[in-house]
């Protein structure tokens, strides 16, 4: 056999390949919230969410792995690339239902949070949207939307514009990040869910038609600030940090961060 430099290269490549294959030996079993404090635990989160912030601030000993889309985090959990996920409780419940038997949610929530609709700082729309939300709460539309998407009430239905509704005031563009069932997700080419329904309900009250623009969750606040979208509605938690960048309406949904683990 000739002394060939490529032979050495092939041997090195083979060794690296075999080393990469043995990657699943860092698994930490997570069964309770306390297990998240184990050193070396791998926690999956969605990039830029409050779940991400919570993980970074409270579990410094863990390896935090952010994913652009929550579904990618779920796929990672199913594949064993992470030990647990921290995600908003409603979408988490949705992911668990869709993967029945393979993953489950812990009962306790890590945090309590509320979702708000974001506008550029000082926007006059905030007050108007707040009034619309009050009206929708009073006339039952808001609960109807939640009944359909969250509680799956058999008698509830998706929001439909009342007959004779007009939109004389123009169009507002909503920035969102589809992939967060039941708040916003793709059905065919349309984005449906709680946020589109609620936005359309508010729009109908105020005389605006709503166009939805899909983007990275992480980019929604910047899009609101630059005016690329008129408002952001994406199951986005209201917190002090975000309040410095944008103005929020009142909270329209109360949620919390929950933990998803694989079923063993």
């Amino acid at each position: 056999m000739k002394r060939n430099p490529f032979y050495l290269l092939a041997v090195i490549a083979a060794i690296l390949f075999l080393a990469a294959c043995g990657r699943n030996n860092g698994a930490v079993e997570v069964n309770t919230l306390a297990d998240l404090a184990e050193s070396g635990v791998r926690i999956g989160v969605q990039l830029g969410t409050t779940g991400h912030d919570h993980a970074v601030n409270n579990f410094p000993q863990a390896t935090i792995i952010p994913y652009d889309q929550p579904a990618d985090a779920v796929l990672a959990l199913l594949a064993g690339d992470v030990d647990a996920l921290i995600m908003d409780s409603e979408p988490a419940r949705n992911f668990v239902d869709r993967n029945a038997g393979r993953i489950r949610q812990l009962d306790e929530l890590l945090t309590r949070e509320g979702y708000g609709i974001s506008f550029p700082l000082g926007s006059p729309y905030v007050a108007r949207f707040n009034q619309a939300l009050d009206t929708l709460r009073a006339n039952g539309t808001l609960y109807g939307i939640m009944d359909y998407w969250i509680h799956n009430e058999p008698n509830a239905s998706r929001y439909v514009s009342p007959p004779g509704t007009t939109h004389p005031n123009g169009t507002l563009i909503m920035g969102t990040s589809a992939g967060f069932e039941p708040f916003e997700f793709f059905e065919g080419t349309e984005i449906v869910g709680i946020d589109p329904d609620l936005a359309r309900a508010i729009g109908d009250l105020l005389g605006y038609s709503i166009t939805i623009m899909d983007m990275d969750f992480n980019g929604i606040i910047a899009a609101v600030q630059t005016g690329q979208v008129d408002f952001g509605m994406a199951g986005m938690t209201v917190n002090a940090e975000r309040r410095q960048q944008v103005d929020f309406t009142q909270e329209y949904f109360l949620s919390g961060q929950s933990v998803i683990i694989p079923v063993r």
Partner: protein
């Protein structure tokens, strides 16, 4: 891997039929093709202008200042485009330069067009330089001025020489556009990713790969047909009677011819 070998009917239903998901694929295909096509057009325009500047500068004995400045600018532009990854370019275009724009498709076309221009410039430069110097000499000796020689003799041949490489650039651009999902444009790859997220099934990836593969094979077929037609206008090649079925005599037994 098990999910890929499930019942094919189940997979096709999940990936295409449920909730009319095939519409997502159609939108993806439309966006990919439209953006690639218009980006290539922009790239050709930019690339041609760059090539003319570069060749004029390099072939002039003592380039005047009116060529020196554009040449320097153009070299910086090409260096920047070739030095920054395409994904970073499109993110900068969307989040910084066109931060307020609502037309993501236009942003993508501009980003890919500007990127393509740098590479097409090299294609045209090579095409122009590959035209035999004798053509220029013949043109001048027939009494045509330098711009006339350029326009009527060199350029047509240069463009003809560049066409196969342009076809290849089209194919490269088509595959490069697969990253545009990162700014939210619904292309083939993003359609596949959205459906992957909805179904927890990796099989959409296979369909995404198949879509690009089909498009590329078709484009390569067109490019090779174009090359054959172009060759018809050249001098016929005298057949090498020594070949006897081996590759230019390379694999002949008993020594070379």
């Amino acid at each position: 891997m098990a999910s890929v070998f499930e019942n094919i009917a189940d997979i096709v239903t999940r990936v295409f039929i449920t909730h009319d998901r095939w519409r997502l694929w159609v939108t993806g295909l439309q966006n990919t093709l439209v953006i690639t096509f218009f980006a290539l057009l922009i790239g050709i325009v930019i690339g041609f202008m760059i090539a003319v500047v570069r060749v004029s500068h390099d072939t002039a004995g003592k380039p005047p200042i009116i060529l020196k400045i554009p040449n320097a600018l153009v070299k910086m532009y090409v260096t920047a485009i070739r030095g920054i990854p395409m994904m970073v370019q499109i993110m900068i275009m969307n989040f910084i330069i066109f931060a307020a724009s609502r037309n993501l498709i236009l942003t993508a076309i501009v980003a890919f067009g500007i990127n393509s221009g740098a590479y097409v410039a090299e294609v045209f430069r090579g095409g122009i330089l590959s035209v035999d110097k004798g053509q220029t000499e013949a043109g001048r000796s027939l009494g045509l001025s330098a711009p006339q020689t350029m326009r009527r003799i060199i350029m047509p041949q240069a463009i003809k020489n560049s066409l196969p490489a342009l076809g290849n650039e089209f194919i490269s651009l088509l595959k490069e556009t697969s990253i545009m999902g990162v700014i939210g444009v619904m292309d083939i790859t993003r359609a596949g990713n959205v459906i992957r997220g909805l179904t927890y099934d990796q099989s959409p990836l296979i369909f995404v790969a198949a879509a690009y593969l089909t498009l590329v094979i078709f484009l390569e077929f067109l490019v090779s047909k174009m090359e054959k037609r172009l060759k018809k206008s050249e001098r016929p090649i005298v057949k090498n009677i020594d070949r006897k079925g081996s590759l230019f005599g390379l694999f002949k037994r008993g020594g070379t011819a």
